[in-house]
Amino acid sequence: MAILEVKNLTLRFGGVTAVDDLSFDVQEHSITSLIGPNGAGKTSAFNCLTGFYKATSGEILFQDKSVMRMKPHAITEMGMARTFQNLRLFKNMTVLENVMSGMHCRTTSGIGGAVVRSPHQRGEEKKIHEVAEECLDFVGILNKKDRCARNLPYGDQRRVEWARALATQPKLLLLDEPAAGLNHDEKQQLMALIRRIRDERKITIFLIEHNMELIMKISEKIVVIDYGKKIAEGTADEVKNNPRVIEAYLGKEDEEAV
């Protein structure tokens, strides 16, 4: 069953068509990837899915409901979480506080509750802490929960972002270039983590990456776009050998040896 369906999605910025009549779907519990040359419109597509950009036309169905006219926070609340291509942490707050933000959409108490410290509010606060710590534990940095996010090494900052996204308790997780800037070793850990998220938490994964090794190893389906248009779709092997993909994106393997 498709958890996400994109139909004829188009996004224009003035003259530029960043996403052009793009259609694809993401199956529940799958790991699906979106690849394509720089400027192909991958991040833009993500931004449409998560409500950050208002698509020019088309349709996006998440769990069979349209999210086209929804604001980002409402989409997150429905169960679609994302990370950013460039880290977007709350830099001056602690790691724990960062992850607690994820629970915002799963709780309800407001100003009144806060001022009178109602039992409901206190219960929620407790739960927020618990879930946040659990998510930090899951990505393996619980011991750094009281550190200021800004002072963490880059790799750990990435983990904070994942934990934060997990704390929103999503059904679908969108990752924008999660492996950028990671070395080989860290990439291996990332792959393991992505699989665990899918298997242990039953969360569907949809990711953008330029790292072919990672993509080819973990994706069950790959969507390739160029100039905003889909140019190929299929399993790693199918895509790898597609001449259009080679020409536009992969390049000739032997040339890498330069």
Binding site: P37, N38, G39, A180, H184, E186, E256
Partner: protein, 238 residues
């Protein structure tokens, strides 16, 4: 043998309380490509920043062609011929491609010479010539990387410091960047290259250093590093 153009001796650098470089000694010889490998947060970018004067070392020394440049301001270091293409490209997104390139030759007073270098940059990167009027920010990732390198070359540097030129780029573009680096080196530019893509870096470089948490833990000819077991395991895979 060829002379050492850039030498770092026992560099220590702090960000506030964070001790990022704990005594780095590196030397780069004329005409070489030297690569700097290391895991995240090892201090590779910091090393380059310390050379170019964006951050200052608390102790140790940076020498360029025998001159101590440790405490000089970035713009002076650029004028001397060391130029740094930073991580993340740092294109001026609201300036046109042409203006971006021109700013690369800011230190130049001679307008004719500026024009000549502009032409050379366009010859080297025909894609940029096509887009000379476009705003830097609207270029694709690969084009931005070309622009960043092209801009740096406008000073006709003696030493080029490249920080992760392949980051976030599609495989085709990575290959293209590799070709450009090689070509530049063949034209005589000395290059200090920082890369996560160790495979590519070791292929391009003559010599390599491996860093971990602020120190150099290994150094050798790149051919030898390529065969080193721990390197293979941590950086090359397989």
């Amino acid at each position: 043998m060829s002379e050492v153009v850039l030498s770092l001796q026992g560099l220590q650098t702090y960000y506030g309380k964070i001790h990022a470089l704990r005594g780095i000694t590196i030397s780069v010889k004329q005409g070489q490509i030297v690569t700097l490998l290391g895991s995240n947060g090892a201090g590779k970018s910091t090393t380059l920043k310390t050379i170019s004067g964006i951050v200052h070392a608390s102790s140790g020394k940076v020498e360029f062609m025998g001159k101590d440049i440790t405490t000089l301001a970035p713009h002076t270091i650029v004028e001397m011929g060391v130029i740094h293409v930073p991580e993340g490209r740092h294109i001026f997104k609201d300036l046109t491609v042409k203006e971006n390139l021109e700013l690369g030759s800011f230190t130049l007073k001679d307008e004719k010479e500026r024009k000549r270098r502009l032409d050379r940059a366009f010859d080297r990167f025909p894609r940029l010539r096509e887009r000379w009027k476009q705003m830097g920010g609207t270029l694709s990732g690969g084009e931005q990387q070309m622009l960043a390198i092209g801009r740096a070359l406008m000073t006709e540097p003696k030493v080029l410091l490249l920080d992760e030129p392949s980051m976030g780029l599609a495989p085709v573009i990575v290959q293209e960047i590799g070709r450009i680096i090689k070509q530049l080196n063949e034209e005589g530019t000395t290059i200090l290259l920082v890369e996560q893509n160790a495979k590519m870096a070791l292929k391009l470089a003559h010599y390599g250093y491996v860093m971990d948490t602020g120190s150099i833990v290994m150094q050798d000819d790149s051919a030898k590093l390529r065969e080193n077991e721990s390197i293979v395991k941590a950086y090359l895979g397989g």
